[in-house]
Subunit: 151 residues, 2 copies
Amino acid sequence: MADINEIRAGEIAVSPPAAGDAGLEFIGRMHTPWTSRAETPRQGRDDGPICRIEVFDKWAPALKGLDAFETIFVIYWLHQSRRDLVTQSPRSNGTTLGTFALRSPVRPNPLGLSQVKLVGIEGNIVSVRGLDCLDGTPLIDIKPDRCPHSG
Amino acid sequence: MADINEIRAGEIAVSPPAAGDAGLEFIGRMHTPWTSRAETPRQGRDDGPICRIEVFDKWAPALKGLDAFETIFVIYWLHQSRRDLVTQSPRSNGTTLGTFALRSPVRPNPLGLSQVKLVGIEGNIVSVRGLDCLDGTPLIDIKPDRCPHSG
């Protein structure tokens, strides 16, 4: 395993964010097949496994009407990510890019965003294909996609 | 002006989130033509006005390489929004829908998400078309869109 605090060539780190400008509430959690970062796919696929998004009971009525959409956006909290890298040198190609030009989980506000296929909703469980996050990842928001992809 | 604390028929409010599960840092701010919610468009348009996203100096190097993308995702904090509505009855059609089936700024974690056209980057300023947020809205994250739209 690589040291997750390692700094690679070309990377710039700053002091971690104070993170006191606004606060988030975790409103659910994701159930996926992946229990370590090493086995989690870099990017979700429309033909990937069905994953279940559990919405905590208090917010379950907020799902009413979501089943009208073919694709939805899911925003979640990448709770294992460091937040101090401004540039990053992904191992895959050796070049250095800015954090905002990457989908890396390492970012000042480690929010994950997935545009996923809605498979179905039962009670407080939303089943989708296309996720790429760790099992147990906290849920932050669900939004309909106003421009459904074809196919 | 409507009372922003008004509850309409069919709406369910819960206690506002404790919002202490995770903290955000504002990393920039949006400059748009809209200074009140009444005049802000409900949804951004690709042929809308050019808006400027200011990234605070500390994070400016994080933009390196973003100009390779035609469309980007912008996540921002809807700082004027209440957070307690589980269902909502948008004035436009009278029906009641769950918060997660709406793009309303009112949500447990009031994050705005826009998929916008990148116009250009100069220093710490990212110019885009397709935003629909208030002038001065705090910036939370920028991500490349891996699947650029055609046209």
